[in-house]
Symmetry: none
Subunit: 400 residues, 2 copies
Amino acid sequence: MDHGKLIEAVATPTGGKIVLVVADGLGGLPHPTTGLTELETARTPNLDALAAEGVTGLHVPIAPGISPGSGPAHMALFGYDPVRYLIGRGVLEALGIGFELKAGDVAARLNFATVDAHGRITDRRAGRISNEKCVELCSRLDAIELPGVRLFVRPVKEHRAVAVLRGDGLAGGLNDTDPQRTGVPPLPLTATDPGQRRTAELLTLFVERAREMLKAEPKANAVTLRGIAARDPIPTFGERYRMRAAAVAEYPMYRGVAGLVGMTVLDAAPPGEVAAAVGRAFADFDFFFVHFKKTDSTGEDGSFDAKVAATERLDALVPSLVALGPDVLVVTGDHSTPSALASHSWHPVPVVLRAKSARRDAVRAFGESQCLAGGLGTVRAVDLMPLMMAHAGRLLKFGA
Amino acid sequence: MDHGKLIEAVATPTGGKIVLVVADGLGGLPHPTTGLTELETARTPNLDALAAEGVTGLHVPIAPGISPGSGPAHMALFGYDPVRYLIGRGVLEALGIGFELKAGDVAARLNFATVDAHGRITDRRAGRISNEKCVELCSRLDAIELPGVRLFVRPVKEHRAVAVLRGDGLAGGLNDTDPQRTGVPPLPLTATDPGQRRTAELLTLFVERAREMLKAEPKANAVTLRGIAARDPIPTFGERYRMRAAAVAEYPMYRGVAGLVGMTVLDAAPPGEVAAAVGRAFADFDFFFVHFKKTDSTGEDGSFDAKVAATERLDALVPSLVALGPDVLVVTGDHSTPSALASHSWHPVPVVLRAKSARRDAVRAFGESQCLAGGLGTVRAVDLMPLMMAHAGRLLKFGA
């Protein structure tokens, strides 16, 4: 019995309410002068109070040494084996612009490119056309008709867009047509198994018609496709955990991932209003996913001080969430984004869990080094979901 | 996707240099009087400095409670699931004498034995014949010709030797012919699946001819075979990690295991010259495995004081390795060999990792009890390889 099946076997539809706050990229690295991380530097009286009242620890998002993208990192926090339920790049791009993918849809990242008279790529980014141009060209490509399927082409930014096919019998996992270099034509689409054949034919036809339609464009006269992926079926929160779940997130990608696992995506709220958003829906759901972005984006920018400030804004949200009276309140990150690395990293992520049944530990401040001594120890991210459910009284005894 | 495939999927051929120092049998147990282990008793200012600058922890070689042999313990440190990539005893014996096994070779431990007129074993060790006698008899057996394959017989020590078959269609996993007691004849070789039939026939023929050839010997007038094993294909460091790896090791078996995973085995250097050996090859490789034997052999001898002294010699190697400027420097053991047990044990093994991206912990001395509070926590040995690669910037982000 795999991890997911075990939880499904013991999940019961009654129990307490859970609020999971994901501060994106929360974990950090010590400042070279002070030896304190961003989280340890920030003034976080409310998070420290949670640490004192609850139980703390660290989680490893995917596996030791593995730096996760946002997709697998959130899937793991939601309790799904992030290697098994891997979300393809095309799907993630579509979610990132708020496109509502349906089960069976196939999505790809589309890049506008420049090709010469021989069809050889001379600019893989079509001179980074303007956003306005991207919108205009996508609107034209969107009108292309393909036999038996519906095509959607949606702009992302500059030369970047998303193409989605909707219909029966489609498959993902096809090769990228972007050759990753100039001087050669785009690669042909090849089906490596028979189930991909129809999708390869349809996308080949789309690429040809796009070429025809764009031939008068000075820069964006061709397209390449990457990360062609199907929206694979995923057991929902309702099916697996028997919980009604809601998401409060500003950024489309996190809204999208929440939607993939069957959460109801509530209206976006700015950080200061997330507790109010949760409060309004409190009676109607069992589980709330609250996403906080700024701890990641400041880390990605490489700014220690900005990440400290973002962490203090995170701390300020805590009292109003506590005031709602959830049975289980967890604050953690999806991965570390140390400002010293200016990128996602593999370092374990602090986690604090507050619940009546928490076996309190000696940790009185919320930080990477403090959490090392926490009562949760260091767990895998996928193990947090059953822990939260257990503390909410939502898992029955396993076996007699 | 298994552990190895996950790493392979994100490994990139660029990044920093890694030096892994394996002090064989490093972990120990407390002295009954002082309560300090061998490592904690030894004066190790250089290892302590590494602990202060880097991050520490413990690793479990195979699984809790499992005392590993040197083969699986090193495979785990090299990031290979030691249960899946099990190196058979015959293969390990061959590696231990520096015999260069090729893929598909089948190797067995050979014991000279004494049998009576009825073919019943009267001495399973042939009266422990001299090394010289072993060499002479092996040289005679080595001349036996078998149909369609090449036979090698090589002496190990006293009554012990190695037999290797080289050719197509051979298989390992056959039963031992040593009945483990006297008064009965050696056991026949039996193929339990059709793929083993030819190997069983060839080795049966070899045993008969050896018996004929040795019939005039007063003691060593028969042979038994144990641990018949094929050298199975293993993905190399180059294939799996995209790293050029080199090994500095004195003892043949560790040289052999390094060779099995595709490392270039450098000329053996005595302990005092390992840093120079690494230094000479520093530009040509990405990963260096340095093996230090004495911490194990002194532990096996049951000598607490000798193991303390060996540990201090290990400590003396550290500054010259640090001086080479590796991006990642790790010092650990392959398993524990507490002198109190005078054998390999299952106890977790201290590990220290020094790298710019290490999340430093409060540990300031390198010892079993100190490492319990280390920032790495307690990890499985197979997880160290991805951690080292992550700190060397050699693993791409997983998923988007």
